[in-house]
Symmetry: D2
Subunit: 415 residues, 4 copies
């Protein structure tokens, strides 16, 4: 298996990737994948930034990424890796090859802050529970100190904070989220805030680019978008578009382009990992379902279309997300037709390379002085913070256009 | 069901649509669909040119299309319509409403020329067999006379010739097809030519725009492409992209954009109409399979991908093309995943509105003096005559760009 | 289409089929199907009692069935038939051929009693609402009078009452249902009872065999099972096994026989007819889901299996029930595998022939003096009243054994 | 994972299992599975003889099976196991736990005889090529000597020979196969015979029960069936029913029982293992396809049904057989419906436990003095040697009946 990765000139810039949800399966895939790439055991499959037109950008080398993170549970990192091996997602030889990297990564994991709506977690880190009950200003201070220590100890040029945590409970909008001044007052008053918002605040206030791969609020509230512009920090989110929604937003424009009338689009998702267990709780499921459904409804642009998104927890599937979509549509003469598809993919193995792309793009944007919503990354998200079309191909074109406009001209021919 | 069709100012230009394969099911759908639209019994579902951005072009009104055509069989037109009703494709009320239009259409059907590789057709028109055995110059004269009579009798501003016939047997390339001079000599020498080539020659030489909706050679040989440029006639083809290949060329770029590695793409098609019966013969199937497979292989751009396209004749399905595709792909960490889809669509009901779009676009191009390959219509074909990408969304964008550049500015806001 | 129906000697016995839900789509299929068979326009596809071993039983001839029924709505019967034509379920020629039968059938429809939990029906018959508010003894008297008038006016040897109504709201068990004496007291006291129970009581008390094709309680409560034994009336139910559950109870024993370990069985049902609209209400859905799920869990006999049954209302599908089932299972060595299926069937066209089978078998049982639960009909139901295995093949074997034991020996060789 | 295997009293009878195709993936699964069961690392999933009613038969204990075999290639056994691990079929821990068993097994593998129609095998054992060119009497002598050495060296009470080799090329019937005397003469004359026939002869002539898990001829020719009766040896075959055909023969009787009319049944199989590579050759594919199709056609009992079985080689799938079946059927009123299923299973992990069942049943039959075709094992085969119904549930019932009639009464309650 000859590694096909692009050859870039060595760089002295080391970039930190701070994973919120550091013991989760996406983080596990990141740690083992980067080791495997370094050792030449893996091809860079799934990493779009290893291909044209991104190879013409001076992105950070994958070998120069250093991982660390927060988590609220104490689950053994190696046990998580073994589970992914048993699931047929991680190769056993990668676990062996990455064992040293994994150990030093685990040593860099710090207790995160528990979201107050999340209780009863089996293997909760008591330090996280304690952090979760502190006033938000104190939480922010603790997180910022962790980011800073990580940067200093690893001699990092920059830390990119990535939220990979489980889905939080749905929250009603609060007036204090509408602008930064109101939000700062609320922080001063000491009432609790959703954990994802606290993390995002801490990251942006520390000048760290921030990527929200979850459906949680994170930096998407107006107050934090204002903060990012003010501090000149780039950020991206929400809710990684890894599987069924990726297919949906690829197929829906096809029906539009052909003037076919979609009558109904039913999507049934099943998954069995920790994410699935959390989503089995209706309060947590709602955010996720809304994102998946809204992308579709916007694309079809029809009020009359009947849509449904279901997410069911099926423990035996573990990380293998399996989704069935049924599209009922009408053609010329009123003839009724259908398209159905079954998607079977490892959610974590699909997510991890997207995270690598986003970290590189976030670092690149920060390096260039770009700030605020990274509109060009919409292709990566179910609910892009900056809005815009959900049409996957249109999003990809915008992303490629962004890259081409910033490409470094050079003697080296692109791969 | 209030008709939603765009309101255009009445035009005095009546355009003829000459269907080669005039008794086939696509033609049947065209005749009944146009009647139904005229009577307000149908919505213009499936007709992209009834939507933005095409509504800003001065396209011929659907009410101003007059249909006629050639066929080599004597099958009763009404019987074909009844079959589509029994199949659940044509509504019984449309057959009633269109009966007068259908009768006058049938009166305009003329005997076509039988392709010499096609023998043993059950309900063959003996006049077609005779025409099929004439030298090509005489065939061309007969066809041209039919086009001209159709134009004159119906006071048409222009006739667009559309090939909707069954798939011909695969033909080995001939030297005489390489340039126009050689081809003219071959015609003079009197050797037989594939019927689709004779039709295309007759159309183009008569100044009629030509659309090849079949996988047959038609105007795609270099000699006829030269003829079209010389006579300043626009033409489009080959092989309408109606169903499985439409989905394939929509999905394949998604895998590319995500840097996922497609390992295998197996496509199994089943159909039961006359087209299916013809394709049950391996000689006829080869052309079709090649077009379907080549689009995919080009898009995936991987030599290592394993692809297969099967087409099976399943009589009970009649016009209901049912296809199952299985995509095996590799993601990050070497994890193996799959996407499978089942497409169930009426091939004829899908094809007919594309034919309407193409006729309008061909007439529009001719009206503007555009000639040669209509490159902007690639989205409609499995094997676009002018080549270019098979990426459906990229093709649609090019088409929309073409339309926007030629849009008529005006006080009327677009629909 | 040569009719293949078995030839039986003419019989003077005419049997009435009283449809509760007389304007619903199953009833519509029954009326048109019987006409079509009589006229030789249809083959008896789907009617098992037209095949071996049932052809050796002296079952009532299909031509000797006379239909009538109750309904609570005023929907025009012809409009319902037109809807089934538009859906591609009923052939237009059958509607023409059956028009006289349909008219006389509609004349025999009487207002039914509205279940008190069902309110807000759009086209409710006001007479049904009034009947629904009467004390149960008066309801029973009204229904019995209708049965009797039907029998007398049509010179019927017997009336079989079949419940084909929509799913009722789930009811908590009541002590008064536990035995007949308690139930009679409750009737005397005049409190309301679910409509399905009132119908079942009226039928059985009148000596009419009773078939419950719905998931409603009907004759399945102990009190009515006691009544049936006392009055020596045969009855069968509950909840016709037409589609997804049929496939489930056929496949589940396969996994058992091979000692494969089913980990999860997820079933997603979509339908768009009136039944679907009623099931969109969670109170009504519960009964149906329970029956579908219990059959499966019993068959798999594993406490650890994860099962789920979903039913979603998708209006555009109308009568076309579409279901997707995903079975995740473990084989030798712990290898994890899957089977998934998609079922696309017309619920009413599947149900109607089962009703014909059950009517014939109920009449046959009554004729022979058999009474109580028709245990041999378990193959027809999701929740057989008499219990027993859910294994479809075992149920079919028991049914065939029943028939063979009662077969009429004769000179005529069986078909 | 507490082992659930039935506890039987220790027995002194050790039984040999001689695998023809000893380096293939089924053999690999057998070796590792038996080790895993012995070590308590596996549950006996997939082994029907570990369940009721077989637990009441004095079958040989799985711990008393000793494996050996023939193969014509030199592929490293451990490499084959690693491939199954990489495929997610074999757990890595099992390979570790079984390493000693695997080494002693590999030491017992002897060169097999190459079938003369099989040439060009990459890793062919030159000794097998030489054996393949010997006259059949000499081949038989060599095989018999191997069986005998295996028996003696391992102190086995009996050797059961199981054919697990790749599919042989289709052979035209020969007159010499019609009876034993003619066959013996043909052997004397020294012309080559298909390898599977030579193995079967050698086994039966040595008094070893014989199981043919392949579609190859083996003992199914009349001459060898005669030999088996003469030597009083039980045998079973042909062609293990592991996946798609298992589902087919379970579902087809359902349509029959409901009097539904199957119009078309299309089955598409894809697989990527060595078996798949062999089947990519049309000569080898024909036998397999015929077995799969014949089972179906017999069950549906309809001349008019349109069936198709495809088998395609898709290397990336490796041992993961993926099959899609589409069933088009007609119900009451002529309504057309469909059932489609996708089967995803590891062919080898499905086959191995069936082999264990068959070995135990063959030994049991021999121990009881039963001989000839083991008719009760039809449930295990696509083309049962003794014929009979293909209805899977009927076959299972016959098998259970066989077991119940021979059950050992005893104080121990059955599991």
């Amino acid at each position: 298996m000859p590694p096909e990765r692009s050859q870039r000139t060595p760089s002295s810039r080391r970039i930190g990737v701070w994973c919120v949800g550091a013991r989760g399966s996406i983080s596990t895939c990141l740690v083992h994948g980067l080791s495997g790439l370094r050792e030449g055991l893996l091809e860079p499959v799934g990493i779009a930034t290893e291909r044209e037109p991104f190879t013409r950008l001076p992105l950070v080398d994958l070998d120069d990424l250093v991982l660390g993170g927060h988590d609220v549970c104490t689950r053994d990192f190696a046990a998580g890796a073994e589970e992914l091996v048993a699931n047929g997602i991680l190769r056993a030889d990668l676990v062996g090859a990455a064992s040293r990297d994994a150990a030093s990564y685990e040593a860099r994991i710090r207790p995160g802050i528990l979201d107050q709506a999340d209780v009863g977690l089996a293997d909760l880190d008591p330090r996280s529970a304690r952090l979760g009950s502190l006033p938000p200003r104190e939480q922010i201070a603790a997180l910022s100190a962790d980011f800073e220590a990580f940067r200093r100890e690893n001699e990092l040029a920059r830390v990119v904070v990535v939220n990979l945590a489980s889905t939080e409970a749905q929250r009603a909008p609060r007036p204090e989220w509408r602008d930064l001044a109101a939000f700062e007052r609320a922080l001063d008053e000491g009432g609790t805030q959703p954990a994802s918002i606290v993390y995002a605040y801490a990251a942006i206030a520390s000048g760290s680019p921030y990527v929200n791969f979850t459906p949680n609020l994170g930096a998407s509230i107006p107050a934090l978008r204002e903060l990012a512009r003010q501090r000149r920090v780039p950020h991206a989110g929400n809710d990684g578009k890894t599987g069924e929604t990726l297919v949906k937003t690829t197929l829906a424009p096809m029906f539009q382009a052909r003037a076919l009338k979609v009558l109904a689009w039913q999507g049934y998702n099943m998954l069995g990992n920790r994410d699935g267990a959390v989503l089995a709780d209706p309060a947590h499921k709602e955010t996720k379902v809304r994102n998946k459904d809204e992308a579709l409804r916007t694309l079809l642009g029809q009020d009359s279309v009947h849509t449904h998104v279901g997410i069911d927890y099926v423990p035996s599937l573990q990380d293998w997300k399996t989704a069935w979509d049924f599209v009922h549509f009408e053609g010329f003469l009123g003839a009724r037709m259908s398209l159905q598809f079954t998607w079977t993919g490892s959610d974590s193995a699909l997510a991890a390379p997207l995270v690598l792309d986003l970290v590189r793009l976030a670092d690149f944007a920060a390096e260039r002085g770009e700030s605020g919503e990274m509109l060009h990354t919409a292709a990566y998200f179910k609910a892009p913070v900056g809005g815009g079309t959900h049409d996957f191909h249109a999003q990809v074109q915008a992303l490629h256009e962004y890259a081409r406009l910033r490409a470094v001209p050079g003697p080296g021919s692109p791969r």
